[in-house]
């Protein structure tokens, strides 16, 4: 589906006409990321992060495939094969650093992408499926990143795997057998490393599949925009090509500059030194921490320090850690406000900027800190707000809030009322 004014693909070259009759792949591309996809004209730079996320996925797959050519998933040699790649393979050091920092870049981009969705209400009807598929992608990314971090078989690889798979042990009754089944043993060892490698290679392609569904679902209603007002007429939109191709193009340049600065000058800044020590099951690191992108959820896990009635603290932590992401699945139905964009929601905006953002910042900080005071108490307060925000604040705010008046249309919000009136199409041309 698209808007009635969407340009139609008209192949001019005979070969392209021939092709279009048989396999209309160029038509699909044209309608997806070409001139045939009308996009709101008023998107701000937060809307560049979807394209950047796709770029990160491609970067990770390409560098990852090269890394896999030089890697052996065996506890005896895994650490050494990674070192050999860095030392003896032509440009191996660059591939390795690009892949490790690429994971971080991917998560930076995806967190901005998700929080853009939170603020501008991108999850609301008719884009619920886009949002749900996005959360699925995020969960798949987390699983992939976690298993990828285990592969070099350093100290944090091993102990991270032990802690995270240990979480399954908290599930009542089936926990322990489940954990052993997942690991293929009583602790992370060769069996676990092998299956993690296998899945780490598989999941990115599953992500590609879900990304295709994500984009497909997006193209049904079309992109949302910072006003949250739906597209009404042709003057509200510009074709994706050349307008947003040009905008995404230069955003990619900025992203690449930042990424390459990290890659060539601070390649280990986001890594943990302990992962340059080969895994040693007999020596526990002083502080076991996951990679930075898991810190908020790790902080939530560790915030539950007391048994709650009959529920052990560890199980509460595990429930909350998974719940913290699963709650996003329900967001389209928790937030009942008819207004999408946070810009027109005075109360929601306050809770977003002075509640959710600081709480996430504290959780990020505390998740990377040792499990001591004051970090545990800080993360308890922040986690408390986090759950209250999604499950209590949002449902109540969306019921009692009086939103600010919305612009009539995107065109009006950009050009002002008078200019927009001149452009106003005949009523019959508007989309209901």
């Amino acid at each position: 589906m698209s808007f009635p004014w969407a340009k139609e693909y008209k192949p001019s070259h005979p070969f392209m006409q021939w092709m279009d009759d048989r396999l209309p792949l160029p038509r699909l591309v044209y309608n997806s990321v070409g001139g045939g996809y009308p996009v709101p004209r008023n998107l701000n730079y937060f809307w560049n992060f979807g394209f950047l996320a796709a770029l990160c996925l491609v970067l990770q797959i390409v560098t990852g495939i090269v890394m896999a050519m030089h890697y052996a998933a065996n506890t005896q040699v895994a650490f050494d094969t990674v070192e050999q790649t860095v030392r003896d393979v032509n440009w191996g050091w660059m591939m390795r650093y690009a892949h490790a920092n690429g994971a971080s870049a991917f998560f930076v981009v995806i967190y901005v992408h998700i929080f853009r969705g939170f603020f501008y209400g991108s999850y609301k009807a008719p884009r619920e499926m886009v949002w749900l598929l996005g959360v699925v992608i995020f969960l798949l990314m987390m699983a992939t990143a976690f298993m990828g971090y285990v592969l070099p078989w350093g100290q944090m690889s091993f102990w991270g795997a032990k802690v995270i798979t240990g979480l399954f042990g908290a599930i009542p009754f089936v926990g322990e057998p489940l954990q052993q089944w997942l690991l293929g043993g009583f602790a992370p060892d060769n069996a676990a490393l092998n299956r993690f490698f296998s899945l780490h290679y598989l999941l990115p392609f599953v992500i590609v599949g879900v990304v295709i569904l994500h984009i497909w679902a997006l193209h049904i209603p079309g992109s949302s925009n910072p006003t949250g007002v739906e597209v009404k007429s042709e003057s509200d939109t510009v074709p994706f090509y050349p307008y947003y191709v040009a905008k995404d193009g230069w955003a990619i340049g900025v992203f690449a500059i930042l990424f390459c600065t990290a890659l060539f000058f601070f390649p280990n800044a986001l890594g943990h030194p302990d992962n340059y020590i080969p895994a040693n099951p007999m020596s526990t690191p002083a502080h076991i921490v996951p990679e930075w992108y898991f810190w908020p959820f790790y902080a939530i896990l560790r915030a539950f320090t007391q048994d709650f009635f009959f529920i052990p603290a560890k199980l509460m932590g595990v429930l909350a850690m998974f719940g913290a992401i699963l709650v996003w699945f329900f967001l389209p139905w928790l937030d009942r406000s008819p207004v999408r964009s946070g810009s027109y929601r005075p109360l929601y905006k306050k809770f977003f900027f002075f509640g959710l953002i600081p709480a996430m910042a504290v959780l990020f900080y505390c998740g990377g800190a040792p499990a001591e005071e004051p970090y545990v108490m800080l993360s308890q307060i922040a986690a408390l707000y986090y759950f209250a925000h999604f499950l209590i604040v949002i449902p109540i705010v969306s019921a009692i809030e009086k939103p600010d008046p919305l612009p009539f249309s995107i065109t009006e919000s950009v050009l002002g009322e008078d200019e927009a009136a001149k452009l106003a199409p005949a009523p019959s041309a508007t989309v209901a």
Partner: protein, 270 residues
């Protein structure tokens, strides 16, 4: 209905967190955690700079050779360097003959199929530094990656080597149980303050440098730290040298991209 359900679930998590917070806060007040000697007397690494630091950093090859000499004559008694091959030493400025001579100075274990014994032979350039047998106290770590395997690694190695001292009186006064055991050595740069390694660099002239540099403990520590930066990341120079043209190209391409963006959007208010 959905709203009530969601608020109930929200209350479940928030009340559980408030309960954890309250009990934790109560414990903090009634039984505050005891201070530990490690917490109060552990020091962060000293400030020290190396030629390879910074975005334009390059190895000082003279220094790497001196550092290698310190490693070979002092550290190698206990610490291995298993990720480094003798051939890699060419990057320090040694020529083929010198690399071969260095390799020859090491005995490499080989398994003899005929006798079933492990024998040794002289090393060749393609061999890696052989394992080091160690039967003493403690577990000397492999040094190949040590400057990447510790926070602020190069400064840490330098600080550790120059940081041996007597236990401060203040420490013993506050923590009488924390006296350094007889077999260990006090060093505030080590995470738990006491380590098995005796001070390896003890006096001036322990190593005789070929280039005439005065071999003070400070100098030797710096040199060996510089050498270990190289062993941990032999491609450091190439990495930084590659970075600049890449950034230059990207900057150029991004400016062009920005200009074409402005050009395409010209006249289109958004």
């Amino acid at each position: 209905m959905a709203r009530i359900l969601s608020i109930l679930v929200g209350l479940f998590f928030t009340v559980a967190l408030a309960w954890s917070f309250g009990k934790g806060a109560y414990q903090q007040i009634t039984e505050p955690p005891a201070a530990t000697a490690e917490h109060e007397f552990h020091l962060h690494p000293k400030e020290v700079s190396f030629a390879s630091d910074g975005a334009f950093g390059k190895f000082d090859r003279q220094q790497l050779q001196r550092g290698f000499q310190v490693y070979k004559e002092v550290c190698a008694a206990c610490h291995a360097l298993r990720h480094v091959a003798f051939r890699d030493l060419a990057a320090l400025g040694y020529n083929d003959a010198e690399v071969k001579a260095i390799a020859k100075g090491f005995q490499v274990p080989v398994y003899n199929n005929a006798t079933g014994e492990v024998e040794t032979r002289e090393g060749v350039a393609t061999d890696y530094f052989p394992p080091v047998l160690y039967g003493g106290q403690g577990t000397p770590p492999d040094l190949s990656l040590i400057t990447k395997a510790r926070h602020d690694g190069p400064a840490y190695v330098y600080s550790l080597l120059t940081g041996y001292q007597d236990q401060p009186a203040a420490l013993l006064k506050k923590f009488p149980d924390s006296k350094t055991p007889d077999s260990l050595h006090y060093n505030p740069y080590f995470a738990n303050l006491n380590l098995a390694m005796p001070p390896p660099l003890t006096g001036e002239g322990q190593v005789t440098y070929g280039d005439g540099t005065k071999a003070t403990v400070d100098q030797m520590s710096k040199d060996v730290s510089a050498f270990l930066i190289w062993t941990a990341e032999p491609k450091l120079e190439k990495r930084k040298q590659t970075g600049w043209p890449v950034l230059g190209f990207l900057l150029f391409a991004t400016i062009l991209g920005y200009m074409s963006y402005r050009n395409i959007w010209a006249g289109k208010k958004h």
